[in-house]
């Protein structure tokens, strides 16, 4: 017997309409509807097709435990307006898989607890960013590794490998835990800005929601101030000689040249004429090409967890079986750590893990 809810998740992950999904299974729409209502079992031929095209195991579909999706009302999406509902739902369904993984890991490991205070008074996004910097004790310093900083402060960060340029990231609160999902097919600089943007949503819009018209602009202003504190910018770039200066200096703040040029223009350090010229010049690099690119950041927490599991005889493939989720889906959520060239330490190297009492 198959769980209709699990089939629905697979349909969403594949971005299929109900009719398209029924076609894939070799049944008509009404048959699928009867199955969803519990009046009918799918024929064996359809089950075979389902397993073939989805890559999910039969155990996954036979599991009747409740799936938890990100609540659409509580999610802040950073995306273009052209993002289709199918793509959006696929990304949300990835969130449901991430929750399965995260719940398991939380039961096995003690990870940093969130200390993100969301009682933000009515201050500007820039002030909120500076206030958070002060809370986290980083002052005006540029952030060396944003992902590391977020994880250190209890944010769970997952990657998305959605093959669409229309979706950048999304974030949500779940059980008092902040989550960020990043589309890692974007440039490293873009992903960093997306992460800071989502941090802005988590901080500023937890209680009021992010559907109001100024929410995106506020999150952008937060991200800009969080990654590029005005004081540090002014100290480092008292004046802009040329675009080359921007391309070189952007490494300090780990932002795209376009984002730095925009901020400097907003600060009055670049004239309209020069800004326009810089935008044209940057455009010539290509939409997804970043000049003087930085190295992509990855999750330290997931790397440590996967390494420890591997040492205990549970590589990702086995974990995937245990959780009944395809390995490729987990790998896609975990920054591809398991498939990197040498992700795991040598036998002789030490790992900083110790056993603690389970207090959950």
């Amino acid at each position: 017997m198959l769980n209709p809810e699990r089939l629905e998740l697979v349909r969403l992950r594949h971005g299929l309409t109900k009719i398209g999904f029924a076609d894939k299974l070799g049944v008509d729409r009404k048959t699928l509807q009867r199955f969803e209502n519990g009046d009918y079992e799918l024929p064996n031929s359809s089950v075979t097709k389902l397993l073939d095209f989805s890559g999910y195991s039969k155990e996954f579909f036979g599991d009747f435990s409740k799936l938890e999706y990100p609540s659409p009302e509580g999610v802040s999406f950073r995306s273009l307006r052209s993002l289709t509902a199918a793509r959006r739902n696929a990304a949300m369904a990835a969130g449901a898989l991430a929750f399965i993984f995260d719940d398991f890991i939380t039961s096995e490991y003690a990870l940093p607890e969130s200390n993100l205070t969301t009682e933000v008074k009515s201050v500007s996004p820039a002030k909120a960013a500076l206030s958070l910097r002060a809370d986290w004790g980083i002052g005006f310093r540029p952030i060396g590794n944003l992902l590391n900083l977020l994880e250190r402060h209890g944010l769970r960060v997952f990657s998305l490998v959605e093959e669409t340029r229309h979706l950048d990231a999304y974030s949500l609160w779940r059980n008092e835990k902040p989550y960020i999902f990043l589309n890692t097919l974007k440039s490293a600089e873009r992903s960093r800005f997306d992460a800071a943007h989502e941090l802005g949503h988590l901080l500023l819009h937890r209680h009021i929601g992010s559907s109001h018209s100024t929410a995106e602009a506020e999150a952008d202003a937060f991200a800009s101030a969080f990654l590029m504190p005005r004081e540090d910018l002014l100290a480092e770039i008292p004046r802009v000689r040329s675009l080359q200066v921007i391309i070189e200096k952007k490494q300090r703040w780990g932002v795209s040249a376009a984002a730095l040029a925009y901020t400097l223009h907003k600060m009055g350090k670049i004239s309209d004429w020069h800004y326009r010229s810089y935008c044209i010049a940057l455009g010539k690099f290509g939409r997804d090409k970043e000049p003087n690119p930085m190295q992509r950041e990855s999750s330290q927490i997931w790397e440590k967890v996967l390494t420890d599991l591997w040492r205990r005889g549970t590589p990702l493939s086995r974990l995937a079986k245990q959780l009944k989720v395809p390995e490729r889906e987990l790998n896609g959520l975990l920054f591809g750590i398991a498939t990197k060239a040498n992700p795991l330490p040598q036998e002789s190297s030490k790992i900083s893990l110790r056993t603690i009492e389970n207090n959950t």
């Binding site: 003690a110 310093r141 540029p142 952030i143 060396g144 994880e151 802009v240 000689r241 020069h274």
Partner: protein, 216 residues
């Protein structure tokens, strides 16, 4: 030949500039403006357009920053600049070589200049500039021409000085009686204290995050 007087101490430069009814910060702004405009030139621009741009934009910058009560536009001999009739001082921009702003080496113009520059330098030999000895010979226009020498090149430090040329030969400035250093190659004005990169200005470090296994 008498050794050129080189003013390179920041406070003295500021005071020298003020004697000319100018403002050092504004003058630096002119240089940086010309430099940033030059930076927009690409290889698609005609050869030498970068130098033309510096000259033209520095002249525009001088006018925008200083023209008003004391300073007026000047186009004598088709050389753009500014003129203070009361002081009898004219300032024209010029592209200098890499020795611009270097108190130890003598700069000159990057490309050969013509009769107009020669005439102005000749006139400088007969005029009086505040702070200098009174002129010995008094003829021609009586206006001193100072040159705002700028060295601006991609990937090279920006250099600039305000100089009083006294000798011109073979299309080049050969001798400056007084040189006021403006930019010595660092981004900051000459002789300003260097700012050390303190610990607080460095990027945050990647720290080890505790991931602890729960005891079952």
């Amino acid at each position: 030949m008498i050794e050129a007087i080189v003013v390179s101490v920041a406070s003295e430069c500021k005071s020298e500039i003020e004697k000319l009814n100018l403002d050092l910060e504004k003058l630096l702004e002119v240089v940086r403006y010309a430099d940033s405009e030059r930076a927009l030139c690409t290889r698609n621009d005609p050869r030498g357009f970068g130098l033309i741009t510096i000259n033209a934009k520095a002249a525009r910058g001088l006018r925008e920053q200083f023209c008003g009560n004391d300073w007026v536009h000047d186009e004598t001999d088709n050389q753009p600049g500014i003129l203070n009739e009361e002081l009898g001082v004219r300032i024209i921009p010029c592209n200098f070589d890499e020795n611009a702003g270097n108190p130890l080496l003598d700069p000159t113009n990057r490309t050969e200049k013509g009769a107009a520059s020669s005439k102005k330098v000749r006139c400088n030999g007969t005029s009086w500039l505040p702070g200098l000895e009174p002129p010995i010979i008094d003829d021609e226009s009586g206006v001193v021409t100072l040159v705002l020498g700028i060295f601006s090149e991609e990937a090279e430090p920006l250099r600039a000085e305000l100089s009083y040329p006294l000798e011109f030969n073979g299309g080049k400035y050969k001798y400056f009686k007084r040189r006021i250093m403006l930019l010595s190659g660092s981004d900051a004005p000459i002789d300003s204290p260097a700012t050390a990169d303190s610990e607080s200005g460095k990027p945050t470090e990647t720290v080890e995050i505790n991931v602890e296994r729960r005891k079952k």
